[in-house]
């Protein structure tokens, strides 16, 4: 009998790692999405490759701490170069990001082939780096992931107000005398750390989704930054844990992509069903207001018709006449609804008149302006 997942030691490690990673990326991604730098994470992730390979070459062995250090250094160098490119000359941010991304990654590839030529080269770590290998997480890695999570949380709690102001309105923050550049640098440094620990789990290409998806999902449920960040952390964790469980359920489902797809499902669900910003809610709001407007227009048409017969207020008019007065409205359905609300009643074959209540009803949105 197979061991259930909560008793499987390896799986527990992987689950904790994915949960911590989801939490960290949900937290740090909030700031990069808020600052409209969603794609910076992708750039940093690619830029980290030469650092990983160099650290590996210098250390001579695959030690998680050293590799992470190298990745962080290279990622940081990449962001600095991007900033220099943008400030130094006429280079737009997206171009600078793309150039640094491809150039650094290319450099990493060159170094990697060089390492592989050396006689003492072990297994190439490229596959792990590109696609992540959550399954290879060991307890010692958890210390790094957990440490980063704690650090990121502490920094965000300590500098909450500063991050918030800089995130929403950079110019205002500067006018308050806040050290905007230093705060931004701190945010970027945290982002680099978060990405570097994500590399090992989901890989280069997918890190950016880990940063963006929980935030976009959380954003749909709330308007407050604090609740958005909290929810984004929770959703990141849910995505991580869910992805690991899904991939553990089958032999040939790689973990990183599973995490991304599960988190993407959370986004799709949130986009569709969130109470206010959700697309279904928006569609229903629109439908309800259109229906209310249709009712009022038909009611107004009936009142106008009744006004033509002051002596005989209950004079009935054929439905076709009403339909001619309010083009584009499903008149028969609306009439039946009006009947249910006690505002109109049918009279003979397809003719309608107003009840006393319908006659006295005041209408604010007539929609008749253009027909007059």
């Amino acid at each position: 009998m197979p061991v259930p997942w909560w008793q499987d030691y390896t799986l527990r490690i992987v689950l904790s790692g994915a949960a911590l990673l989801g939490l960290t990326s949900g937290l740090l991604g909030s700031w990069s999405v808020l600052r409209r730098q969603s794609l910076l994470g992708d750039g940093i992730a690619h830029a980290a490759l030469p650092g990983v390979v160099l650290a590996w070459m210098l250390a001579g062995r695959r030690d998680t701490g050293i590799l992470l250090l190298g990745a962080a250094a290279a990622g940081w160098a990449g962001t600095l170069l991007i900033q220099h490119l943008v400030h130094g000359a006429r280079v737009k941010e997206d171009s600078a990001l793309g150039i640094v991304l491809a150039g650094f990654f290319g450099l990493g590839l060159m170094l990697l082939t060089w390492v592989q030529h050396r006689p003492d080269a072990g297994q190439a770590g490229l596959e792990t780096f590109l696609f992540g290998q959550a399954a290879t997480l060991v307890a010692r890695d958890l210390v790094w992931v957990g440490g980063t999570a704690v650090m990121a949380l502490a920094a965000c709690l300590l500098c909450w107000k500063e991050f918030k102001i800089v995130g929403f309105d950079r110019e205002y923050a500067a006018s308050l005398g806040l050290p905007v550049r230093r705060i931004e640098r701190l945010l970027t440094a945290l982002l680099v750390l978060g990405i570097v620990i994500g590399l090992q789990t989901v890989g280069v290409v997918l890190v950016s989704a880990m940063l963006i998806a929980p935030v976009v999902a959380a954003r749909q449920w709330t308007h407050r930054l604090s609740s958005m960040v909290a929810l984004s952390m929770v959703l990141g964790m849910v995505g991580g844990v869910g992805g690991v469980l899904v991939s553990a359920g089958s032999e040939r489902l790689p973990t990183g992509p599973c995490i991304v797809l599960v988190t993407a499902l959370l986004v799709a669900f949130s986009l569709a069903f969130a109470p206010h910003r959700g697309l279904v809610a928006a569609w229903r709001r629109q439908r309800n207001s259109r229906r209310a407007l249709d009712h009022d227009r038909v009611l107004a048409a009936l009142q106008a018709l009744a006004g033509q017969h002051p002596q005989e207020p209950a004079h009935a008019h054929p439905e076709a006449v009403i339909r001619g007065m309010v083009p584009g409205v499903g008149v028969s359905v609306v009439l039946r609804n009006l009947e249910r609300r006690g505002l109109a009643r049918p009279e003979g074959q397809d003719s309608w008149c107003l009840t006393p209540e319908g006659r006295s009803r005041r209408i604010h949105r007539t929609g008749m302006e253009e027909t007059r």
């Binding site: 969603s38 793309g98 150039i99 290319g106 590839l109 989704a209 963006i212 976009v216 040939r252 986004v267």
Partner: protein
């Protein structure tokens, strides 16, 4: 033809083919769509490969183009909901599609014979082995024909819509007002990007594609102003980059795609530093020139105001009065002497006639 020569030819053709959509993307500030598309087409390629043939087969090409279109459509759709910004939508969609691709590879790996490394990194070194043979005749490497075909498609688009593309790139609102449908053009450019990514993908891999699309165009944009010359210069820079990359890779026996991408970036960085007017050094020189000129003006006006008053015209007075450092003061004095607007004689600064005129002009200028 020898294999290295064929590789050079394929690489150069691919570089030029990449430059056309790349330059338009860079101008429209959609450069990262190249990154997104080159990753997001993976599921299409996998399905195409499963349907029949290798990575370069027509099925894979069709699947990839289709996947690219789906990606563009999804990004548009997400942005149109008004619930997120464009960059978030891009950063969300392409990893999801890439994930789907990776999972497909893992599930169908046995049937697909697809190495994800190869997809990301390209197999340029093996491109000459895959020949196009028609009716028993060897027509050269297949990649050469594919790259050439895509280049032709790109040229066709650029030549036939040159005016419209130019206007859409430089003044979108105006082109919209003129009824030139910049949105439709964007879509066409993205289709071309998909096609190019797919063609380049086989030989170059997705990372080199990004380098080829963005770096030469961004570099050319620092050198020239006009769209036509931008395309020409970018193509030239792209070819230089890939050929030098090939040289480096052969000399040091390193990854071909990697060193080409690095050379693209290095060529860009060189241009970034040295471009005659918009390069970093030129801008710094220009700034320094203005600063020097202003300092001399300031000094001249000061001297004119206090002419004849002792104590105001000693070189040591400058550091206190203007808050200049010693070297700054010395530099300004040297500059002024060189321009013949002032003279220093036994530790007193005097205006020359030309200096008096220039000080008066500077005061009028304000």
């Amino acid at each position: 033809m020898s294999a290295p020569l064929e590789i050079s030819l394929i690489a150069a053709l691919t570089a030029v083919a990449c430059v056309l959509p790349g330059a338009l993307l860079v101008l429209r500030r959609m450069a990262l769509m190249s990154d997104a598309i080159s990753h997001g087409i993976l599921p299409g390629i996998v399905l195409g490969v499963v349907a029949g043939g290798g990575v370069g087969s027509p099925w894979a090409l069709a699947g990839a183009v289709l996947a690219g279109m789906v990606l563009v459509w999804l990004v548009d759709l997400l942005v149109a909901t008004g619930r997120m910004h464009g960059d978030a939508a891009i950063g969300l969609v392409f990893p999801v599609m890439f994930s789907a691709g990776v999972i497909l590879v893992a599930r169908l790996g046995g049937q697909a014979h697809l190495d994800t490394d190869a997809v990301l990194l390209g197999e340029l070194a093996f491109a000459p082995l895959d020949r196009l043979v028609l009716g028993g005749r060897d027509l050269g490497p297949r990649a050469l024909w594919i790259s050439g075909g895509v280049l032709l498609a790109g040229l066709l688009l650029v030549v036939s819509c040159y005016k419209e593309l130019k206007l859409a790139a430089f003044d979108r609102d105006f082109s919209e007002a003129q009824g030139l449908r910049p949105g439709l053009l964007d879509r066409l450019v993205l289709v071309l990007t998909c096609l190019t990514c797919v063609a380049a993908f086989d030989v170059a891999g997705s990372v080199l594609v990004v380098a080829l699309m963005i770096a030469p165009a961004a570099a050319a944009w620092l050198l020239v102003q006009r769209l036509g010359s931008l395309l020409g210069v970018a193509a030239l820079l792209g070819v230089i980059s890939v050929l030098s990359g090939q040289g480096v890779a052969r000399a040091l026996d390193l990854s071909l795609a990697g060193s080409m991408a690095v050379c693209c970036t290095l060529v860009f960085l060189l241009v970034f530093l040295l471009a005659p007017r918009r390069g970093v050094l030129a801008r710094r020189r220009h700034l320094q020139h203005n600063r020097d000129r202003f300092a001399v003006d300031l000094l001249l006006v000061h001297l004119l105001q206090h002419e004849g008053q002792p104590g105001e015209d000693g070189p040591d007075h400058l550091t206190g009065h203007f808050g200049w450092t010693g070297s700054r003061a010395a530099r300004t004095l040297r500059q002024g002497e060189r321009e013949g607007v002032l003279e220093v004689e036994d530790r007193r600064i005097r205006l020359t006639g030309a200096g008096r005129v220039r000080a008066a002009e500077a005061m009028v200028r304000g």
